[in-house]
Symmetry: C2
Subunit: 170 residues, 2 copies
């Protein structure tokens, strides 16, 4: 069931955005009762965070040194954010997390934490240093999609990567 629900949730958000998406329509599209949905995920934010974790899956970081790993991480995230519904779901959860401590805890613990330990180790960075890198990469890519509706150009990704390598791989 989960797979079908996650896909219905992201499709609904791709169509009407996070704010306009309803648990009612997500349940109908997945062919499950709304009560079933709420038993498993107590809020829209909880369902969307679970859908994002599923969509992102394991991060693929490759490369021999930190510079190559940073580039690989930026490009991996840029690809993830192009999947239908993912960028608006991510941005919508953020907007809610800013004002709601429960959503923030969910995002930090269920979505972000599983990436932080392996990635900061792989990149040989302290947790706080890695979190700043993550804020810059995810924030920049999402902001571009929000304002222009387009993914970042390859030329801009190269500027971003070279800046990050200078600051974080030194």
């Amino acid at each position: 069931m989960d797979e079908r629900v996650f896909s219905a949730a992201l499709d609904e958000i791709a169509r009407v955005g996070y704010a306009g998406a309803t648990m009612d329509r997500m349940a109908a599209a997945a062919g499950v009762a709304k009560t079933t949905l709420y038993r498993r995920w107590p809020s829209k934010a909880a369902l969307v965070v679970a859908s994002l974790s599923h969509a992102f899956g394991a991060v693929e970081i490759v490369g021999d040194d930190t510079a190559a790993k940073i580039e690989s991480g930026v490009r991996w995230l840029a690809v993830q954010l192009q999947a239908p519904g993912v960028a608006p779901a991510f941005a919508g959860v953020f907007a809610e997390a800013i004002v709601d401590a429960d959503t923030r805890a969910l995002l930090e613990q269920s979505f972000q934490r599983p990436y932080v330990t392996p990635l900061s180790a792989a990149m040989n960075m302290s947790g706080p240093k890695f979190l700043l890198l993550a804020d810059i990469v995810a924030g920049t890519l999402l902001h571009r999609m929000g304002v222009s509706g387009r993914s970042m150009t390859d030329a801009d990704i190269r500027v971003l990567v070279s800046m990050l390598v200078g600051a974080f791989a030194a």
Copy 2:
């Protein structure tokens, strides 16, 4: 009237987030009829973008060289994003803009454009270069607030500024 409506809109968003905010409650809090609100701003997004433009006002960029101007711009934006309702309003409009071309056009033309020409000139950058800088600064600051609920620490702002100066003021 505008001033009262903008303030009611951002207060409502500070309380319940962008997705949960309604034109009904914004109108009631501002003491105006909902029809009056809709005549002036045809959608929640339109009202929120106007409220953000009003809250941000003129940008204060100071400094003798591009490095000082970048630092001043980052610190100015960090302060703006701490005003009640501003960060969740900003993030909420983004989430909607990703899936909705009208919201995107509004954000790009009414909010962003008035800053781009004077700022790119002040910083002696091409438009696209300035837009990348803006994506990095605004995206990073918002992402941090979304995940941690806190503004960026001064130490992290210094890392961000020094990275941007290296990449954009060279």
